[in-house]
């Protein structure tokens, strides 16, 4: 079957449907605004959001933390949605095919097999470890013993989570959507329950007066690093959103649920994580949910959270596999879907043996991947909205190097790749998340938005310089 309803008899065509080769038609775009809201809510309220909230609490207190999370996510999501959702929704094509104009066929492959693959493997690893930690805590509760935060049960739970995610993935996007429709509302309820337990077991006063856990000396710098970290979180949705948005019925059903649901759901979950970190010293609900909620309720919540991580993992890996398949230049064309998805999980499976590493490097991972993703977003927005004025030629996109519009020497649009590197380098010059060095101006403009703007400007300038007079559409 195609995405929905339309019988596809030829197995070759059915296979290409699964891999997202074909632009989706009106009757196949079946997600309403509500459906897509639940999909995004399920993505947003995974336990990574609690971890983001806890990391924000390292730098700022409760009120400033809410402000930093709101500002950061609003900025990051704003240009992430413009860069990924708008074009994919309109043309029904997955986002990496649409990037061929900006980077070239080979250029897109380079990006997918470096930035996108590493980023999504990182997030998948983190989700698997989080699911493993929830499993370990539930097992410890019923065994009446301490299994440790990073013990072997975490690894076993993580590996089982990966196996289940692989099974869900092998069933295709419709199954993922069905799981999300169940998980998302439940997660919203669970998150509220956790917040109630937090407040009941601590106090509002303790929450509002709590000091940040490990701030720098400069309060302004603390706030801006917190904002920047949350911009990175907003942008981190880029690799998956276009491929999901193509299944929505209309632009309204795509843009606002992508922006609104991710913003609101992320904020709610992050606030719970931050509140826990500020009052209890740990943002991860797998640590405090059983002591506060009791064995039965606590374990039920943790099982639900573990399952939610699995659906999140399925969603992000689905989009990543589409990108890998489309960007492989035919190399992976004959590899079955189940084998491809299983191959993706090899690195996350290995990383479950190093759960502590994943948690400790979380902020660096988000910020460094954000440096590259913001630059990609900047180039994508400049290409689609400014250079091509929202006009793309689907035939030319699929022809790639055999066509005219999106064919470049060696398959690389150097304007796009140089702009990407320039944007990411500018980000890392403004704010180095590894050494924590910042330029003075960072405290005013942060890093992501300026990096995206630099990437966009460099892209447009180089396009004018390198490809002067080049057509942006074919006259038929």
């Amino acid at each position: 079957m195609s995405a929905r309803g339309e019988a596809v008899v030829d197995p070759k065509l059915a296979n290409e449907h699964v891999f997202g080769t074909f632009p989706l038609l009106k009757k196949e775009r079946f997600w309403s605004a509500l459906d897509f809201t639940w999909v995004n809510t399920a993505l947003a309220i995974a336990t990574w959001a609690f971890l983001v909230g806890g990391s924000t609490a390292l730098l700022v207190g409760f009120e400033a933390g809410i402000a930093a999370m709101l500002i950061g996510n609003a900025i990051g999501l704003c240009f992430m949605v413009l860069a990924s959702v708008v074009a994919s929704q309109r043309w029904g094509s997955e986002q990496y095919t649409l990037l061929r104009g900006a980077f070239g066929v080979v250029g897109v492959g380079i990006i997918v097999f470096t930035v996108i693959l590493v980023t999504e493997m990182g997030w998948s690893s983190l989700l698997a470890v989080m699911a493993g930690r929830a499993t370990s805590q539930v097992a410890a509760t019923f065994a009446g013993t301490d299994l440790g935060q990073y013990g072997p049960v975490v690894t076993i739970g993580g590996l089982v989570a990966i196996l289940i995610a692989w099974w869900v993935l092998s069933r295709g996007p419709v199954t993922i959507g069905r799981f999300n429709a169940i998980i998302a509302p439940g997660l919203a309820v669970v998150t509220v329950i956790m917040m109630v337990f937090l407040v009941v077991n601590t106090s509002w006063d303790a929450l509002f007066t709590a000091s940040p856990i490990a701030p720098f000396d400069d309060p302004t710098l603390n706030f801006m690093v917190a904002v920047e970290f949350n911009v990175g979180v907003g942008v981190s949705w880029y690799p998956v959103m276009g491929s999901l948005a193509r299944m929505t019925r209309s632009r309204k059903a795509a843009v606002w649920p992508a922006y609104g649901a991710l913003l609101v759901a992320t904020l709610i979950a992050q606030i719970v994580g931050m509140a826990a970190a500020l009052t209890l010293g740990d943002s991860d609900p797998t640590v405090w949910m059983v002591p506060f909620g009791g064995a039965i309720l606590g374990a039920a919540v943790l099982i639900f959270i573990a399952f939610a991580n699995i659906t999140s993992m399925s969603s992000i890996v689905y989009s990543t596999i589409l990108a890998i398949r489309q960007s492989s230049g035919g190399l992976l064309a004959k590899v079955p879907w189940k084998v491809l998805t299983a191959s993706f999980f090899i690195v996350p499976a290995i990383m479950t043996f190093f759960p502590q590493f994943m948690y400790e490097q979380f902020m660096i991972f988000v910020s460094v991947s954000g440096a590259f993703l913001t630059a990609i977003c900047g180039v994508a927005v400049a290409d689609y909205f400014v250079l091509r004025k929202q006009r793309v030629d689907l035939r030319e996109l699929h022809l790639g190097q055999r066509g005219t519009l999106y064919a470049f020497a060696g398959g690389i649009n150097w304007a796009g790749l140089i702009a990407l590197v320039a944007g990411a380098a500018f980000y890392l010059w403004l704010y180095n998340p590894i050494t924590l060095e910042t330029q003075a101006v960072f405290s005013v403009i942060t890093a992501s938005l300026p990096a995206a703007i630099v990437a966009a400007v460099v892209y447009l300038a180089l396009s004018a310089l390198l490809y002067r007079g080049r057509a942006t559409e074919v006259v038929r």
């Binding site: 030829d10 290409e16 038609l25 609003a74 922006y259 055999r402």
Partner: protein, 79 residues
Amino acid sequence: MTSPQQSATAASHPTAFERALVAGGTDPAVAAELERRIQIVEHDERDEPSRLPMTGREIAVYVGVSVVAVVIGLLVVVL
């Protein structure tokens, strides 16, 4: 280089687009299905609201909402 031209011919008479894809290794059935879908997108669904470009007003409202969210965040800090 000349771009392949679109035509409304059936799959039994592959278009230049299909021929170019097949020459590049794409299965003929896949190339024909791509052509069929692109024709639907470009013709039958051309005036569908979901296929229209984002208007300047839509972009302005969208960015405006983001700006309002940022201002609210700043007010939380300042006040």
